[in-house]
Each structure stands twice: as structure tokens, then as C-alpha cells.
Amino acid sequence: MELFRETKIDFLGKKWYFLTLTMVLFVVGMIALAIHHGPKMGIDFTGGAVVDVKFDQAAPISKIRQALDSSGMTQGVIQPVGGSGSDEVLISLPLSALNQRQLEQSRRNLLAALYKTGPAASGKLDLNNVSPSQLTNWLVQNDPNHWAAASNGQARYQALAATILSQYRDHHWGGLIPSFAALTQVPGVTPALVAAMRPAFFVGRFSIQSASIIGAEVGAQLRRQAVLAVLYALAGMLVYIAFRFEWIYGVAAVVAVFHDVLITLGMFALVQLPISLTVIAAFLTLVGYSMNDTIVVFDRVRENLKILRREKLSDLVNLSINQTLSRTVLTSGLTFLSVLSLLALGGPVLRGFSFCMTFGILVGTYSSIAVAAPMMVAYIEWRNRRQQRPARAVAGRASGEKLARSRG
């Protein structure tokens, strides 16, 4: 099967269309960024708290709202995971709503607010938020199975707590014990034990899936370090490409990558997805793909410069893009398909990541053809005109010969 065969599309001739499209994308992105005052930063970078809570039914969003408001956490944002009607919500609090010195206290306050959403039995422990060590302690102290006399009593209770909580609650039931009655499904749990536990425990309607609290200082430091690392990496790539080709190739490739990153950032601002540490990883991946695409085209240009010495540079670049077109479409298409599956199936944790990749692969492919190549050609043609080469036919040769020689 073959999709393309000896195509002869004049890509460089369409550079003004490309420039227009690029400007449109760029302006839309920048306007979105300007309106929202930069990309929306996740609490990884701004500092603050995010708690992921899973309920045993559709999350009671209005009740959570009320509970937060009445606890003085009016700045809290409640966001259902995977659309409305979901049983899982992310509750995020900006740093200003937190007592930075007492992160632990902030967390307890949030938990207390959550218990206002449903029936909470005062003085009882919530089996859905109790830790294995708390349950072990209770079992050892109350000794419902009369194991205390045995030398390994404590170890047996510890193992029982682990079976109930780790094996069943967290894995078998996906984080929530459905009811007291269901506990008898756990091997080793007798109806008598359940009866003994009833006065001391209750089965809450929700469980904390994850909780992060990040101070402002760490956030700023992470952001600085991530941006610096990416800039250094781009500089490193520029130097390597300049060494293998010519410096303008490196500059053009890096400009194309910048173009992709800025436009994708604009898209993040447009759809208001927060930038988290995982999204930064996706941006790094996007930089890699975009760079890869550009180098493939440049490499073909370098090869053709050696063979087709009489060709005009723009024709030669056009030919190179056409020769690599089927590879470009196939590779981008395949990677696009696989990140599309990530977007559809990868779950909420990976949503920002897969969005960045899906969009990024499209711009990344586009930019190597529509930004990097025309920029490189425009610069070399301008340079040659300035050097006032007499014969038009050899325009663009200067660099080509140098490159061909150096490659030996």
C-alpha cells in the first residue's frame, strides 16, 4: 500500500498562506493568553492544595460547595473528573486560602468540611479514610478476635488490617468499601468481627484518592527550573544542529519548536486546562517530535545539495519535502493515532498530557514544513542576494557546497 507517490507539491510557493495561518494561530493563542493572564497554572506551580475525592455515587457538588463556603474556604474550586455526574471531584484551593505554615491543619480542615456533606458519626472512625496502622491499633487494643494471648497476635491483626484496607478497600473495591455488610466478603472477617467494629467505625461516603499541598516557594522554584531546563535543552539542540548542518538550520529548527510551544500554550489558555508537571513532560515530548520532523527534512536537503548541484535552493527544498512527505504523514499519523488513544482511554490524570500531545503533533509536523524550511530558504537566499552573486542559477549554492564538502 502506498499513500503518496512522487508528489510534486510546491510547499515553499505557499509560504504566504502558511505565514497567514501561523499568524492566525499565534494571534488566537496570544489573545487567549492575554485574556487569561498567561496559561492557567496547576497547583504544582502556583502552590496551593488539590484533593481528589471519590464518592460512592455522583458527587454532591452543591453540597460540597456549601460545606466549603461554611468552613471559610470560599475560594475553593470544585471540578468533576470526567464530566458532570461523575463520582470523582477535584477540589482545589489557592495558596491564599491556606495556612502555609500548617499544611497538615489545612488538610484536616478540608476533610472536616467534606464530612459536612453527608452523615458523619461523631467520635467514630471512617473506614474509608482510616489508615492500616490506625485500624491495626484499634484491633490490637480491642482484641475482638481474642488473639492477644497468642505471641503473634499483633502481627495477625496487622495482616488482617492490611487485607481489609489494602487488598479489598483500595484494590478490589477501587477505594471505597460499599457497606459494613460487604466486609464479610473479606477472608478472615467474621460477622462477629463486623459487629464488634460497628460501634467504633462507620462507612463514609467518600475517600480521599490523593492530596497535594504545595508551598508557593516550591512552585516558583519548579517553574523556574522547568523553564530553564527546556531553554538549555533547546540551546543544546541548536548547537548540535549547527555543528552537523549550518547554524541557520539550527536557528530555523529552534524557531519552529518555539512556534509549536507558544501556539500549544495558547491552546491550553483557550481551553483553560491547567499546566501541571505531567503537562511539562508532554511539552518536552512535543519538542522532541517537532525537532525530529524538522531534522528529517533538513537531512534530505543536505543529501540533495550534494547530488543536485544545479538546482535552485527553493526547488531543492521543495523536492526534499516531497520526498519525505509520505514518511512525514505516516509517522505523524501513527503517533497521532496512538496519542488519540491516550486521550480517549488514558484517564483523567493524563488528560492534559494527551491534549498537549494530540495538538502538538499536528503543529509540530506543520511547523517543520511551513516554518523551519521556508525560514532557512529565505535566509540563505537573502544572504546570497546580499553577497551579489552574479548568476541567479547558482543562488543558494554557496552554503550547499560548503555543506557538501564538510560532509565529504
Binding site: 477501587g174 531546563a229 525537532m291 496512538s338 493524563l350
Partner: protein
């Protein structure tokens, strides 16, 4: 050619077997379950995937400098008194700028004596400056400050690591973090309720034994009035904490400010059930400290001793006879708090206090969900890619899929072999690797097709295709590896995870897409009748 090919094939088989063993380890049996278990034990999942707690601590390393200059200040005062120089020393900077000691009231004629005292008693870590107005300043040198701070951080990491290890957390990480030399990263896999760990971690654990000079007093004011508002030289007033059997009121003791023994001279500490059915903590001193303690207590029979824990008197008792290397702390301990205290004393004191900059807890079920979703997405993506390659390139597609599978096997084997941790950003690196692996194959196959179209013979087309595509593949891979190395050097922890899987994956790719794929092609060419068409 044919022999060469056989050696190459053998080499590839050896690599594959070694890598598969790398992933599974040497399972105890050949059953599916044994292999699965041994694999799970070898692939380390990050906290975001397996659940656990991640914390970043900000260490107040200035505390250690402060302690150092406090000691220097006391030493200086003693030396000045001995030399008969009527001077007072103080630290005007407080805890914020603890490196400066102010010396006031030195007569002009004794300036030279002060200089030699500083030189002889404090050493080269300190520098003496003359201030306008006849005062002097003793400043700890910046290099010495740095050394004290970095030593404090190392010791802090060691102490916290000890405590966490003794609590029985499996495979904790405690290491320096960030660019400044004052942050610690703590990772506790599988701990989703870190309250107890945090409590044990944060206890400063400073223990020392002092001679009691007066008290107990019922309040600070009462103690001060006893001494006409001025405490005797080299003593301090310390509050008692829950000293048993003495009622609920406050208690204050006047103690010698330098201790007889301190926490670094402990050899062991163990919780024990005392004779009265109360939990207590017994400690053993090192031999040298034990001898000193015996001599000291022998000379001070009838006087009182106080055990100072974290700046509070935990225990005060009269010396009945010379005491050797054994000591005991009693109090209102529960089993757990006695265990915790013994653990804290064993692990030594924290040289500096710290605060929490960041705390992240991932519950085990969310981690399991992430793995499940990630694996489903990865397998779907892989199947889509493999299917498309098979349709598009037919025979050669098999080649590409084999190379891709081998690449993933090598990558996982590396992760298992060096015990690297797989995190979500690491999976992003693997996705980029897969993309570039597919790309390498596509580049080669497209080139071979192109050469075939230009009328080249099949072996020539394969040869040129590999040779030309290799240049491109090398360029794209080296560029990306260069950036991955830089990301690893400068990036945050998450970015490092990405950089590792990416660079290893790309190196594996150079092997699988270029070398292995070529061997398979050669194999096919060899068995192909002359003039037949290549399935690409």
C-alpha cells in the same frame, strides 16, 4: 556473509534473553505466577503510580551555624574571663544572622590579647574585625559557614533516613533536593497517612544531662526572685515537662548550661516495661562518656541531675551513688510513645529544624487506576501502530513490529536492572521513544521503496535505504539524546524521569531499528529467489 549473519543473529538472541531475564529476574519457578511476582518485584513504580507520600522539607541550616557560634561565644567569654579582660560578648544578629559575635568593652590596650585569644581559641574559621567606637566583631568565615551548613544538611538527611527506616517504611527515599543546599526530598511508597511518620521525623531528639543548681520553682518569676533577678553565671532556667508525680503545675529548674553528657554520646536506647508497670526508656552511654559520667556523679553525690530532652526537663533525680553508663527516662509514656522516643534517641538529634514546603499523597487506588488506564491506552496505541505498519508495509511491517517489541523489552530490562523508578513522565518518555522507533522504521522503508522505484535491485535498494536513512536516524536521535541529557542535568525530578526513559529508549532504538532490522532484512534477502519482489 552467511557466517557473519549467523553471529549477528546469535548476538541478538543473547541480548533478548539477557533482557527478558533482566525484567523477570530469576523466577523461583516456571509457573506464570512466579514469573509475574518476580517481575513486579523488579519494576519499581513511582509514587504517582503505586501510591504513597512525597514531601519536600526546608531545612533551617542556619540553626547549625547558630549552635556553632553559641559554643564559640561561650568559649570566648571563658577565655576573656581567664585573661582578665572585662568584656561582654553577644550575638546581635539573632537566629537570622548567627555568624556574627559582638565583643564590647575591651580596653584599648588589650586589643592585641583579644586578637590572639580569637586566633588560638577559635581558630581560622573566625575572623576578628575592629568596629568604630572601640568594639570588635568576631565573624565566622563564609567558607566555614558553608561547611557547617552542608554538614548539617548531610547529618539531617542521615538522621531522618534512620528514623524512617526504623519505622519500617519500605524503600523510602531521603535525599537532597533542589538547587539550594537546604532542601530534602522524602518519599514514602505505600504510606497514604503520613501523620505518624511526620511526628517521628520532626522530633528534634536533643538529649543532654545537666547538674541541677536550684529548683524546682513553680514559675519563672519565682525562680528569678530567688536570685534577685539575675541568674548565676553559666546557668539557665529550664521548664519541666510532665515530670511524674509532681502535680500538674509548672516546674522550673536552674541548670548548669553545659551538659555532662549529650545525645551524641548515646550508644543505645530501648523502651522497657518498668517495675511499676509504666513504660520507660533506658539508654546506654558510650564507654568514654560512661567513665566521665561515673567520675562526675561520684563527685556530686547528693546533688540533683536533670535529663533535658528537646529543651525541657524530662526527668530530675538525686544522685545516690556513682552512676556508670546506664540511664533511664520515665514519664507518661504509652507503648508507642516510648518506642518512638527510643527510636529518636537512637537515630540521634536533628542538627537543624525544618518546615514542609510540599506534601503530596497519592492513594493506592488512584495509582492503580492510573496504571490501568495507562496500560490500556499504551496497548491500544501499540496495536493501532502495529496494525497500520502491517497493512502499509506488509512483510516489512513484521520487521518493524519485532524491532518495536524488542526496543520495549530492552527499555524495561534497563529500568529493572538499574532499579530506576517508572513514573508518569517516564511513560511520556517511552511514548516519544515508540514514536521515534516507528519513525526510524518508516524512514528506512520509505527510502527502500524510493530506491526500488528508481530501478535499483532489491539488495542494492535495501543497502542504500539503510545507509541513507541511518544518517537521518543518527541525527534525529543524537539531537534528542543531547536534549535529554541536558534535561537530566538541569531538570526537576519529574523531568529527569522523562529524560532517562527517553535516552535509554533512543539508544535501544539505534540497536533495534538499524541493526536488528537490518539482520532480519538480510535474512529475508538470503532466502529470497533471485528477482523476486520485496514485501515492503
Amino acid at each position: 556473509m552467511q557466517r557473519n549473519l549467523r553471529w549477528k543473529t546469535l548476538f541478538i538472541i543473547v541480548v533478548v534473553v539477557a533482557c527478558i531475564l533482566g525484567i523477570t529476574g530469576f523466577p523461583k519457578g516456571l509457573s506464570w505466577r512466579a514469573i509475574e511476582q518476580s517481575t513486579i518485584a523488579r519494576i519499581h513504580l513511582g509514587l504517582d503510580l503505586q501510591g504513597g507520600t512525597h514531601m519536600i522539607l526546608q531545612v533551617n541550616v542556619k540553626d547549625a551555624v547558630n549552635a556553632q557560634t553559641d559554643a564559640a561565644m561561650a568559649q570566648l567569654q571563658t577565655a576573656l574571663n581567664k585573661a582578665g579582660i572585662p568584656a561582654t560578648v553577644s550575638k546581635p544578629g539573632g537566629k537570622q544572622h548567627p555568624q556574627t559575635i559582638l565583643v564590647q568593652g575591651v580596653p584599648e590596650a588589650r586589643g592585641g590579647d583579644l586578637s590572639s585569644i580569637v586566633q588560638n581559641d577559635l581558630g581560622s574559621d573566625y575572623q576578628l574585625n575592629t568596629l568604630p567606637g572601640g568594639n570588635y566583631q568576631v565573624v565566622m568565615q563564609p567558607l566555614a559557614v558553608q561547611a557547617v551548613e552542608s554538614r548539617a544538611l548531610t547529618q539531617e538527611i542521615e538522621t531522618i533516613g534512620n528514623r524512617i527506616n526504623q519505622l519500617g517504611v519500605t524503600e523510602p527515599t531521603v535525599q537532597q533536593h533542589g538547587l539550594g543546599a537546604d532542601q530534602i526530598l522524602v518519599q514514602l511508597p505505600g504510606i497514604s497517612d503520613p501523620a505518624h511518620v511526620k511526628q517521628v521525623m520532626q522530633e528534634s531528639g536533643q538529649l543532654s544531662i545537666h547538674l541541677v543548681k536550684g529548683g524546682p520553682f513553680s514559675s519563672q518569676a519565682q525562680a528569678l526572685s530567688q536570685y534577685d533577678g539575675v541568674l548565676p553565671a553559666n546557668t539557665e532556667l529550664v521548664k519541666g515537662s510532665n515530670v511524674e508525680g509532681q502535680g500538674s503545675g509548672e516546674q522550673w529548674y536552674l541548670l548548669d548550661s553545659t551538659g555532662v553528657v549529650n545525645g551524641t554520646e548515646l550508644r543505645d536506647a530501648q523502651p522497657n516495661l518498668g517495675s511499676g508497670g509504666q513504660m520507660e526508656v533506658d539508654f546506654t552511654l558510650t564507654q568514654a562518656a560512661g567513665q566521665r559520667f561515673r567520675a562526675f556523679t561520684g563527685a556530686n553525690i547528693g546533688k540533683q541531675l536533670a535529663v533535658l530532652l528537646n529543651g525541657r526537663v524530662a526527668e530530675a533525680a538525686t544522685i545516690d551513688a556513682a552512676i556508670g553508663s546506664q540511664g533511664r527516662i520515665t514519664g507518661n509514656f504509652t507503648t508507642r510513645s516510648a518506642h518512638d522516643l527510643a527510636l529518636i534517641l537512637r537515630s540521634g538529634a536533628l542538627p537543624a529544624s525544618f518546615s514542609y514546603l510540599e506534601e503530596e499523597t497519592v492513594g493506592p487506588s488512584l495509582g492503580a487506576d492510573s496504571i490501568h488506564d495507562g496500560v490500556v491506552a499504551a496497548i491500544t496505541g501499540f496495536l493501532v501502530v502495529a496494525f497500520a505498519m502491517l497493512i502499509y508495509y506488509r512483510g516489512a511491517g513484521i520487521n518493524a513490529v519485532l524491532a518495536l517489541v524488542l526496543n520495549l523489552i530492552i527499555l524495561m530490562a534497563y529500568m529493572a536492572w538499574v532499579s530506576a523508578t517508572l513514573t508518569l513522565p517516564g511513560i511520556a518518555g517511552i511514548i516519544l521513544t515508540i514514536g521515534m522507533a516507528v519513525d526510524a522504521n518508516v524512514l528506512i522503508f520509505e527510502r527502500i521503496r524510493e530506491e526500488l522505484r528508481h530501478g535499483k535491485s532489491v539488495p542494492a535498494a535495501v543497502d542504500i535505504g539503510f545507509r541513507q536513512a541511518f544518517i537521518t536516524i543518527l541525527d534525529t536521535h543524537v539531537t534528542t539524546i543531547v536534549s535529554a541529557v541536558i534535561l537530566f542535568l538541569f531538570g526537576t525530578a519529574a523531568i529527569k524521569g522523562f529524560a532517562i526513559t527517553l535516552s535509554v529508549g533512543l539508544l535501544a532504538n539505534l540497536f533495534t531499528a538499524v541493526f536488528v532490522s537490518r539482520v532480519i532484512f538480510d535474512y529475508v534477502l538470503q532466502r529470497m529467489p533471485r528477482g523476486a519482489k520485496l514485501s515492503v
